[in-house]
Assembly symmetry: C2
Homo-oligomer: 456 residues x 2
């Protein structure tokens, strides 16, 4: 069976690549209103591809912003249902002058396909559709039930899909989610991501005087909300990077010993990581933990900026009436976002400097997600991955957040297979984004194998 | 003599007011390039007024940006020379919708003239010219030598005049400067400002990683320059507002006992000041010092904002490669800006958090200025002021900086009489800026009396 699907992919390589190129030519930049017609064209491209693959009930679903695309095929009674997710929107291509070839004119160089969206996420999403098309072509049927839900707002917060998932639990009912929007740990290493950190993002506002004051005329006696936020937030972490907000570490669940052991086997080199990826003079943070633990399994607190006074070019001597800091926490398994929110609010209240009034607004909150590597879908996916790349599959986590995975867990009660075929240097969100063409074909084959074996 | 000049001012009230209105109709906004023709018209208005008053050698001096206007009259041998300064440029009028009458259509209500620039500084600058015109008209001559230097960049940093003063010391040689760009301490109280704080304005840049990083993927091990600046700057002051940078207080010269005594007699009410002017829940700072000492005679450190990461609307999870804080110190007499710069640089170097590289840039540096109240020009000005307002003149300081006063002191070696006729609620830089019309006439009479008595 599998050899037949592999053969079909090999025979259709050129066509599959051409179709991806057509998709990549649509500049479906979700954040720019002038690209709204391109958003619609990209949604229609998805719908047409789904229909062509053999899926049914294809619909373009209007939302408050950019449309969702849904399709399904539910004729495998007694077999599990896989909910495939992807997004057809892309980041803006700026700075344009740094692209070697135009971002929306896909170009092949050294076995890579260069274009905005090639890896994130058009190429990876199309893999799912082409895998289904392959299975239909070879077998005339599918080994499992499938549902597709594709969005056009991933790069702008994904509000519509979150709402849709929570409101359509029955329609979207499935046994497992499948998302290809991540990368291999390194070239050639089959990789499943089984943990994502959560995120709570705050705005902390401090108010001092009733109006902006001149720092000459009032400096020395008027409360300065910018400095007040600095005083406050400096207390939030100690010099070793340990968060000082009470209770933050209370519920933190450390990774199992076996998982920690497996991380040690990854080809991770701290000096390479520092020099090639981070580019700072040294790494920082909780030195009692390994670097991978710090970024995958420890909560963090970051401040992203303090505005309200003056942050433009040159000098302005203002003591602003109000200042705002952007503060985020990354969360790890078992941390409850609501508890973190309450702790932080209380801590801000207690530590607000004299003369100021502070207010904490929550801009987003999502818990960490972990998937049990012994879940049948994960075990099957690991096997299919190893088949194609001829190496043992590694299980990693990511320090980032993929909100849809949390939505699937919360609203549908299902785990998600995070099976990504990108590479760490694909340049997502950057100029010269690329997708290795062989990984596109490998992805189609791996997804087809996974669906076959999961249905078996 | 004085009675004759007073009478001339009374007789010419209407004309003097009309001329000010013509001047105020020119929207000479120095920061907006589209108003460059208005800048030129305003400079020409000054030149014409100076010629009409009887001054000689009137010239419009081109600079790298907006022109200066110069004039003199030097036919009083053996008498002192007074260098009159003012500026013809104004702040932008935004927000326009808050003006009761349009900013460049001068409008009289309740004895006030409402227009952008009425008090800051067109009205006050024109007082000098009208005083000279009055003296010429009444006496056919002037009691002292006078020079006028008027600029069009006061609201945008005043770079051209600073350069011009340092390059034209002989041409501008004088015994005393005269600036009317301040306010009475309160309605009806003749006020001379005899001290200004200095200012050193820094940009502190911290660099961490080689590029902007995703706070999910790297948070926990990558240095965050925004948080690093917060950690650093929080150490710059203790909770009582005392600056912790070594040596900052070393050279601070406290005001003389007599000056401190005189401040106690000012009609200053701390509760009024807090509620009406500052509008915060409480005043802050060094509680061992009175409020007036804190704002007039103590050094301060303020942070105006931290940029580089994200300070826009909503949430962005970035650990920026680089962040910049705007930091300023106000300086008091005897503090050497160069010494403060060196101390701050050294302190930043020593306290830079691990993983970051910091750099300190100086955007501006000017020392504090104090004038001896026993200087003959100050004593004479105080007398002339008391004559007109029929009250004892008070001597105050200002916590702000007027760079031209420092330039006159540094390059010409002269003190400056800061004789302002505005009121604290004139709304400089705000909508509905006004100038009390009676104070315009009082100003013309006071300046005329001052010049007469100073020449006597």
């Amino acid at each position: 069976m599998s050899q037949a699907t592999d053969a079909f992919v090999w025979e259709n390589q050129e066509r599959f690549l051409d179709e991806l190129k057509q998709f990549l030519k649509i500049p479906s930049i979700s954040t720019l209103p002038e690209h709204r017609p391109d958003i619609d064209r990209a949604a229609e491209f998805c719908a047409a591809s789904l229909r062509k693959a053999g899926l049914e009930n294809v619909e373009i679903i209007p939302t408050g912003r950019h449309p969702l695309v849904y399709a399904d095929w539910l004729h495998a009674p007694g077999k599990p249902t896989v909910l495939c997710y992807g997004h057809y929107d892309v980041q803006p291509p700026d700075p344009l002058e740094e692209w070697k070839t135009p971002p929306f004119e896909p170009s092949v160089r050294d076995g890579n396909l260069y274009a905005r969206g090639s890896a994130d996420d058009k190429g990876q999403m199309l893999m799912h559709i082409k895998a289904v098309e392959t299975l239909f072509a070879v077998n005339g049927t599918l080994p499992v039930n499938v549902k597709f839900l594709i969005e056009g707002e991933e790069e702008v917060g994904g509000a519509s899909i979150a709402k849709y998932v929570s409101a359509n639990k029955d329609k979207l009912k499935a046994d497992v989610g499948l998302v290809s929007d991540t990368a291999l740990y390194a070239e050639g290493i089959p990789t499943l991501c089984i943990g994502l950190r959560g995120l709570v993002y705050f705005e902390v506002t401090a108010v001092g005087a009733g109006r902006d004051l001149h720092s000459g005329l009032y400096g020395g006696c008027a409360p300065n909300p910018v400095f007040g936020l600095i005083e406050l937030l400096a207390k939030a972490k100690n010099e070793k990077g340990v968060i000082q907000v009470p209770g933050i570490y209370e519920d933190v669940e450390p990774p199992a010993a076996a998982e920690l052991e497996s991380w040690k086997k990854l080809p991770f080199n701290e000096i390479d990581f520092l020099e090639r990826e981070v580019g700072a003079c040294r790494l920082t943070g909780e030195t009692d933990f390994s670097v991978l633990e710090r970024i995958w399994a420890r909560p963090t607190l970051e401040v992203h900026g303090i505005a309200g006074g003056f942050t433009g070019t040159g000098a302005k001597t203002v003591i602003p009436a109000k200042a705002t800091a952007k503060v985020s926490f990354r969360l790890v398994p078992k941390q409850d976002p609501e508890k973190v929110i309450a702790s932080f609010r209380e801590w801000v209240r207690k530590n607000t400097p004299d003369g100021l009034q502070t207010d904490v607004t929550v801009l987003s909150a999502s818990p960490a997600v972990v998937v049990n590597p012994d879940h049948p879908a994960i075990r099957t996916a690991a096997g299919a991955f190893s088949d194609i790349l001829q190496q043992e599959t590694v299980f990693i986590r990511s320090g980032g957040s993929i909100p849809i995975v949390g939505d699937f867990a919360t609203h549908l009660g299902i785990p998600t297979v995070l099976m990504g075929f990108g590479l760490p240097d694909d340049g997502l969100h950057s100029p010269n984004e690329k997708f290795k063409i062989q990984n596109y074909y490998n992805g189609i084959m791996t997804v087809a194998h996974f669906l076959e074996q999961y249905g078996a």
